[in-house]
C-alpha cells in the first residue's frame, strides 16, 4: 500500500443560505467549477493530471442532480478526460470524498484526485431531494426516525448538557471564528467568489455573528420543542428508543446549531510520486480514515465511534492527536465528543466552526480537513483529527499527519 498526501486544500467563503445571501445568485455548478479552476491554477494541473473529481453533495436534485461532479468538470477548465463522481453521505460527503480519494491513491488506483464538495442550500433546500427514511413508514418507524434537531436534543438530555452549556459553546465558536478571520488565518485557503467580469461577489464568511453573547442566545426559543412535544410528537418516538429518559430537554435553537449556508471546498489528494512528478510539496499525509453507522435516532453521536475506529486504523490513541476539528452541526455533538474523549476545548475547533460560519452540507467534511491542516501548520503541530456527524446515524473521521 502506498501513502496518500494532501497537496492543497481550498474553499469558497460561505454565504448566508437565504435568498438575500451573497452566493444565492451563484449556481452550484459555477461554485464548484471555480474551485476546480483555482485548484488547477494553484497546482499547475494541466491535461489529464488527476484521475477523477470526487464531489460530495447531500441534495442531488435539480441543478445539484444529474452527476454534478461531471457537470462541474465540464464547466471548468479541467481536461474532459477527468470524469467526475458525485457522492452522498449527507454531511460527511465532503470528508468521504477526501477519504475515498486517499484510499484509491493508497490502493494504487490513480495518482491524484480532486476531492471535495458543494452545497447551495439557498438554491436547493435541504430535504428537497426527498428521503424515504423520513417519509416511508416501513423504515421511518423501524428506524425510529426523528429530525436532527430532536436527535441533538436527545444527545443533550442523554449526556447531560444544559441550555447554558450549549449556548456557551456557541458563543465561543463565534468569538473564535471572528478572531481567526481578524488574524487572517484562513487567508491561504479562501478562494473568493467572483463574477465573469472579475468582480468579487463574496470574499468572507458572512454568516458570523461575532457579537453574540449568552444574553442574546438566551432570548431564543428552543427550535425543536413544538415538533417534539406537540405536532407530530417526535419526543414520543425518541423515548421509545431511549425509555430510561423521562422527557427530552430541548436546548437547541438557531444560535447554537450550525448555520444554513452556501459554500464549496476542494482538496488535492495524491501519491508521493504525483508530487514529485508535478513539483508539488505534500502538506500532510492522510494517515487513517474511517466511517461507521450508529443508532439513527440519536443520529449524531457518530464522531465518537468513528474516532475510535480511525484511531485504531492509524494505530494511535486519543493522546497522540494534537488538534481536533469536529463539525459543529449542533453544540451537543461537539460537547459529547469532548466529554467522551476528555478532549480539551483548547485544542478543538480552534478557529470556530459551523455554528459561526455555517455548514454547507456536502462541503463541510472537506472544509474541516482544510481548516485542521491550516491550523496544524500555524501551530506547527504533527497530528490532527477531523470528525463529522452524519444524518441517519453515521459518522466519519480522518487523521492527518504533517510530513
Amino acid at each position: 500500500m502506498g501513502d496518500a498526501y494532501i497537496y492543497d486544500a481550498i474553499r469558497s467563503p460561505r454565504g448566508k443560505g437565504r435568498s438575500d445571501g451573497s452566493l444565492h445568485e451563484v449556481t452550484p455548478v459555477k461554485l464548484s467549477a471555480d474551485l476546480l479552476n483555482a485548484m488547477k491554477r494553484r497546482n499547475g494541473l494541466e491535461g489529464h493530471a488527476v484521475e477523477d473529481v470526487v464531489w460530495g453533495n447531500a441534495t442531488q436534485v435539480k441543478e445539484q442532480g444529474g452527476c454534478l461532479a461531471r457537470t462541474a468538470v465540464l464547466a471548468s477548465d479541467l481536461d474532459e478526460r477527468v470524469p467526475g463522481l458525485s457522492i452522498n453521505r449527507f454531511c460527511a460527503s465532503g470528508m468521504e470524498a477526501v477519504n475515498l480519494a486517499a484510499n484509491q491513491v493508497k490502493g494504487g488506483a490513480g495518482d491524484a484526485y480532486i476531492a471535495g464538495g458543494v452545497e447551495c442550500m439557498s438554491r436547493v433546500p435541504m430535504g428537497s431531494d426527498g428521503a424515504a427514511i423520513a417519509v416511508d413508514p416501513s423504515v421511518a418507524m423501524k428506524a425510529y426516525f426523528v429530525p436532527q434537531g430532536i436527535s441533538a436534543d436527545i444527545i443533550a438530555t442523554e449526556y447531560g448538557f444544559s441550555r447554558d452549556d450549549a449556548d456557551a459553546y456557541a458563543v465561543e465558536s463565534q468569538q473564535r471564528a471572528a478572531r481567526a478571520w481578524d488574524e487572517g488565518r484562513f487567508e491561504n485557503s479562501i478562494v473568493p467568489v467572483s463574477d465573469q467580469n472579475g468582480m468579487t461577489i463574496l470574499d468572507r464568511d458572512e454568516h458570523m455573528r461575532p457579537d453574540t453573547d449568552m444574553q442574546a442566545l438566551g432570548a431564543l426559543s428552543p427550535a425543536f420543542k413544538d415538533q417534539g412535544e406537540v405536532m407530530p410528537g417526535f419526543d414520543a418516538v425518541a423515548l421509545m428508543k431511549y425509555p430510561h429518559l423521562e422527557r427530552i430537554c430541548h436546548v437547541h435553537h438557531a444560535g447554537n446549531s450550525s448555520g444554513i449556508v452556501d459554500g464549496a471546498a476542494a482538496v488535492l489528494v495524491g501519491s508521493k510520486e504525483f508530487g514529485e512528478a508535478n513539483d508539488l510539496v505534500p502538506r500532510a499525509r492522510i494517515r487513517a480514515t474511517a466511517k461507521i453507522g450508529t443508532d439513527p435516532t440519536i443520529m449524531l453521536t457518530g464522531p465518537v465511534p468513528a474516532t475510535e475506529r480511525v484511531l485504531a486504523d492509524g494505530g494511535m490513541t486519543i493522546g497522540d492527536i494534537d488538534l481536533f476539528e469536529v463539525n459543529e452541526a449542533f453544540s451537543s455533538v461537539v460537547l459529547r465528543f469532548m466529554q467522551a474523549f476528555g478532549v480539551d476545548h483548547g485544542v478543538l475547533n480552534v478557529n470556530g466552526g459551523a455554528i459561526a460560519m455555517g455548514h454547507p452540507l456536502g462541503a463541510s467534511g472537506a472544509i474541516i480537513i482544510g481548516t485542521l491542516l491550516d491550523e496544524m501548520e500555524r501551530q506547527n503541530k504533527e497530528t490532527g483529527l477531523a470528525a463529522i456527524c452524519v444524518a441517519s446515524g453515521m459518522g466519519a473521521a480522518t487523521i492527518l499527519e504533517r510530513v
Binding site: D136, P137, S138, M231, M240, P243, E246
Partner: protein, 732 residues
C-alpha cells in the same frame, strides 16, 4: 333465501337488497360477496337496467365482514396460507372494482351504469368499503346511524379497498380519524368527511338514491383516481405539503401505538406506497399488506380475544342452563362512587333502580352522578332531554330499605368491611323476596365468607365492577362455594343487559383481575426499590401497550389503599409474606405523605390543578442507583409477573376458561391489547421460550417467577394454551 336479492323496478333501476336471513345485522360472508358480484354483473349486462341501488333490508346497512370467515380461510389454507388469503383479498378488490367501473369503457370512461348506495343505518367495515366503491352514497338521517371503518380496533385495517379509496378521496391527513382511529361518524359528520354524499330523510332514502341513478351523467360515475392528472388531496408523499404529512404520520402512529400494533403500521405503509402508483397497483399493495396482517399473530390474537371470544362471552358462553333471568328492578346498596355508577348503567338500559344509602342526602348525591353523566351526553348531543328524564325517573333515591321490596337483584356496594356488609346483607334480604339474587361488589373480600351472612347462600354472588363503572367494559362475576346456577345466570343476564362483558371466576383472594394487577404494580415498585430509573419502569410498560405504567396506576388507585392491601395480605400470610421489597418502597411513600393523585403527591408530582408534572425527583434521590437494565428485561418482568399469575389462576381453578383470562385482562386492566391477553401472549411467545425467560427471572429475582407446572407441561407437549384448552371450550 340468499343474503342479497335483486329486483328490477319499472323505472329501470335494479335494487339490490342485502338482508341476511335470521340475523339482526348484515355481516358479509365469502359466498354472499360472490352473490353480490353475480347480481351486479347481471344488472350491468341487462339492457333494461339503467342503474343500480345497493341497499339493506334491515335498519342498518352492515356490521362488517364476518371475522370468523377470515379466521376460517386462514385455518383452511393450511401450511402456506398467504397465497389463499391474497387471492381472497384480490377477489374482493375485483368485485368492488367491477362495481366502481360499472361497465365503463377503460379509455373514454363512458358507458357505465350509475351505482348508488342507500344506507339506512349503521354501516361499518366492509359495508362501508362496498359503499365507497359505489358512485354515490346516501345515508338516512337517523340518530343511531353511524358509518365508519373500525377494523383497526380489532388489529386489522380496511382491506377491501377502504384504505386506498378513502385516503385518495380525502388525503392522508384527513383520513386518519376514520382509518387510524376507527371512528364511526354520525350522518351529519359523515358528509363533510365524504364517507357519504347526501344525508336524507329515512323515508326518502331509496327514492333519492334511485332519483340520482336515473339522472346521473357519465362524468358523475368517474372516480378522481380514474381520471387523468389525479393528485392526492393534501399532497403525495414527495410533494412539499405531503412530505410533512407523511413524516409526521409515521411519528404520530409510532408514538401513539408504541410500535406494538402492526396493523397501524401496515395501514400507513399501504397509504404511502399506494400513493406513489396507479390505483389498481395500489389495491394490490393494500392486499399484500392486508394479507400480511391477517397472518400476523397479533391480529389473530386480537380478533380472537376482542371480537370472537368477547362476543361469545357476552352472548352467554359461560351461562348455566336456567330460565331467562333478565333484571327488572335492581336494588343498589350504597350510593358512593361505585353504587352511583351501578345505578346509572342499570337505569340507562331500562332497569328500575332503588338506590339506597344511610340518609336521603347521600342517596340523592349518588343519583346526581347519573344526572352529571347524562348532562355531558346532552352537551355532546348523544343524549336527549327526554332520555335524561326517563333515566332519572327510573332511579329511586332513598334511605329506606323497605323500598327494596320487589327487587329481583340487589347489588351491595358499601364500605369494604365484612361486618358492615354482613349487617346490610341480613337487613336487605329480609325485605327482598325469596327469589331475589344478592350480589356484592367487593373487590377484595372473599365471597364465600361474605355469603355466610346470607340466609340464601346459593343466591349470593360477587359482581365486581371496575371504576369508573360507566366507562369500564368488564364485569367480574365471582362464584362463592355455595353460589348456585340461577345466581350465575342472573348475574350474566344482568351484565348483558347493561352491555358489558362478563367473566365468571371462582372465589379466591383478589379473584382474577386484582390478583394479576397487584403483582404488576408490585413489580414496578420493586424496580424502583432496586434503584432503576423510574421513567424506564413507566416507559417499559407503555411500550408494552399498557395504558398506565405501574407507578401511575398506583398513584391513581392510591398508595394508602396499597398499604392497606399489603397489611391485610401480610396478616393473612404471616411468615410466607413475599413482598417486603415492595413494602420498603410503598410504606416509605406513605410515610412521606405521598398518597397518590388524590393527595396531589405520589410517585408523580402534580401541579395545583392536579395535572401530573413528572416523576417525583425524591424517588431518584432515595432509591436511584447506577445504570439501568435492558428494556426487554424490564418488560419480561412486567409481562411475566402478570401472565404467570393468570396461569396460576387457571391451575387453581379460579379461572375456568382461558378466553375469560384473555378478555378479562384486556378489558379489566388494559393488559397489552395487541397480545390478545396473557394466555395468547404466552402462546405467541411459546411455552418453551416462556420457560427460559422464567428460569432466568427466577434465578435473579425470586420465586414469584417460578414456572407453574402447567406451563412446563405445555412446553413438553408442544401445545399452546389455546391448543390444549381452546377448542374444547370454544365448542361449549
Amino acid at each position: 333465501m340468499t343474503d342479497f336479492s335483486c329486483e328490477i323496478h319499472d323505472d329501470g333501476v335494479a335494487v339490490i337488497t342485502w338482508d341476511v336471513p335470521g340475523k339482526s345485522m348484515n355481516v358479509l360472508t365469502r359466498e354472499a360477496f360472490a352473490a353480490l358480484d353475480g347480481q351486479v354483473d347481471q344488472a350491468l349486462a341487462d339492457d333494461a337496467v339503467k342503474g343500480i341501488v345497493i341497499t339493506s333490508g334491515k335498519e342498518s346497512f352492515a356490521g362488517g365482514m364476518d371475522l370468523n370467515v377470515l379466521a376460517s380461510i386462514r385455518d383452511a389454507a393450511g401450511e402456506d396460507p398467504a397465497p389463499k388469503l391474497f387471492e381472497f383479498v384480490m377477489e374482493g378488490h375485483r368485485i368492488l372494482r367491477n362495481i366502481e367501473r360499472a361497465g365503463m369503457d377503460p379509455k373514454t370512461n363512458k358507458g357505465g351504469k350509475p351505482v348508488a348506495c342507500a344506507i339506512p343505518g349503521l354501516c361499518a367495515g366492509i359495508g362501508t368499503e362496498i359503499a365507497l366503491a359505489c358512485h354515490r352514497r346516501f345515508m338516512a338521517d337517523t340518530p343511531k346511524g353511524r358509518i365508519g371503518l373500525p377494523e383497526i380496533r380489532v388489529g386489522l385495517f380496511p382491506g377491501a379497498g377502504g384504505t386506498t379509496r378513502y385516503s385518495r378521496m380525502v388525503g392522508a391527513m384527513a383520513a386518519a380519524p376514520v382509518l387510524l382511529e376507527g371512528k364511526l361518524l354520525e350522518p351529519r359528520k359523515a358528509k363533510p368527511a365524504q364517507l357519504v354524499d347526501e344525508v336524507v330523510a329515512a323515508d326518502e332514502l331509496l327514492a333519492r338514491a334511485k332519483d340520482w341513478v336515473l339522472n346521473a351523467t357519465d362524468a358523475d360515475l368517474v372516480k378522481p383516481w380514474d381520471q387523468k392528472g389525479f393528485k392526492l388531496p393534501g399532497g403525495a408523499p414527495y410533494h412539499p405539503q405531503g412530505f410533512m404529512t407523511f413524516v409526521g404520520a409515521s411519528a404520530m402512529i409510532n408514538g401513539k401505538t408504541k410500535g406494538v400494533y402492526p396493523a397501524a403500521k401496515a395501514l400507513l405503509s399501504a397509504v404511502y406506497e399506494g400513493a406513489l402508483v396507479p390505483f389498481d397497483t395500489a389495491l394490490r399493495i393494500e392486499a399484500r399488506h392486508f394479507t400480511n396482517i391477517l397472518l400476523n399473530p397479533t391480529s389473530s390474537a386480537m380478533i380472537r380475544s376482542l371480537f370472537i371470544s368477547k362476543e361469545a362471552l357476552e352472548k352467554g358462553a359461560r351461562r348455566p342452563d336456567a330460565s331467562d333471568q333478565k333484571v327488572r328492578k335492581v336494588g343498589v346498596l350504597g350510593a358512593g362512587m361505585m353504587g352511583a355508577g351501578i345505578a346509572y348503567v342499570s337505569a340507562r338500559v331500562g332497569v328500575d333502580v332503588v338506590l339506597v344509602d344511610r340518609d336521603q342526602a347521600s342517596a340523592e348525591g349518588g343519583k346526581a352522578h347519573s344526572e352529571e353523566i347524562l348532562d355531558k351526553g346532552i352537551a355532546r348531543r348523544r343524549v336527549t332531554e327526554e332520555e335524561k328524564a326517563e333515566v332519572l325517573g327510573r332511579i329511586l333515591a332513598t334511605a329506606d330499605l323497605e323500598d327494596l321490596e320487589g327487587c329481583d337483584l340487589i347489588v351491595e356496594a358499601v364500605f369494604e368491611d365484612p361486618g358492615v356488609k354482613a349487617d346490610i346483607t341480613k337487613s336487605a334480604e329480609k325485605i327482598a323476596g325469596d327469589d331475589c339474587i344478592f350480589a356484592t361488589n367487593t373487590s377484595t373480600l372473599p365471597i364465600t365468607e361474605l355469603a355466610q351472612a346470607s340466609v340464601r347462600p346459593e343466591q349470593f354472588i360477587g359482581i365486581h365492577f371496575f371504576s369508573p363503572v360507566d366507562r369500564m367494559l368488564l364485569v367480574e362475576i365471582i362464584k362463592g362455594a355455595k353460589t348456585g346456577d340461577r345466581a350465575v345466570a342472573k348475574a350474566l343476564d344482568y351484565v348483558r343487559q347493561i352491555r358489558k362483558t362478563p367473566i365468571v371466576v371462582n372465589d379466591a383472594r383478589f379473584f382474577y383481575a386484582n390478583r394479576c394487577i397487584i403483582p404488576y404494580i408490585n413489580e414496578g415498585l420493586r424496580m424502583v426499590g432496586e434503584g432503576m430509573e423510574p421513567a424506564l419502569v413507566e416507559n417499559a410498560a407503555k411500550l408494552l401497550g399498557f395504558p398506565l405504567g405501574p407507578l401511575q396506576l398506583v398513584d391513581e388507585t392510591s398508595i394508602d389503599l396499597g398499604v392497606k392491601i399489603a397489611r391485610a395480605t401480610r396478616a393473612a400470610m404471616g411468615d410466607a409474606y413475599p413482598d417486603e421489597a415492595v413494602d420498603a418502597v410503598l410504606f416509605w411513600m406513605a410515610d412521606q405523605g405521598r398518597l397518590g393523585r388524590k393527595a396531589g403527591a405520589g410517585f408523580y408530582a402534580y401541579d395545583a390543578s392536579g395535572k401530573r408534572t413528572g416523576l417525583w425527583e425524591g424517588l431518584r434521590e432515595r432509591f436511584g442507583g447506577e445504570g439501568n437494565p435492558a428494556l426487554d428485561e424490564v418488560q419480561n418482568r412486567l409481562m411475566m409477573v402478570q401472565a404467570l399469575e393468570a396461569v396460576r389462576a387457571l391451575e387453581e381453578g379460579v379461572l375456568s376458561d382461558i378466553r375469560e383470562g384473555d378478555v378479562g385482562a384486556i378489558l379489566g386492566w388494559g393488559f397489552a391489547p395487541w397480545s390478545g391477553g396473557p394466555f395468547s401472549w404466552l402462546d405467541m411467545t411459546g411455552a418453551g421460550r416462556a420457560m427460559e425467560i422464567c428460569a432466568d427471572l427466577e434465578a435473579r429475582f425470586g420465586t414469584r417467577f417460578a414456572q407453574p407446572s402447567l406451563l412446563s407441561e405445555l412446553a413438553t407437549s408442544g401445545e399452546g394454551f389455546y391448543g390444549r384448552f381452546g377448542s374444547v371450550r370454544n365448542a361449549a
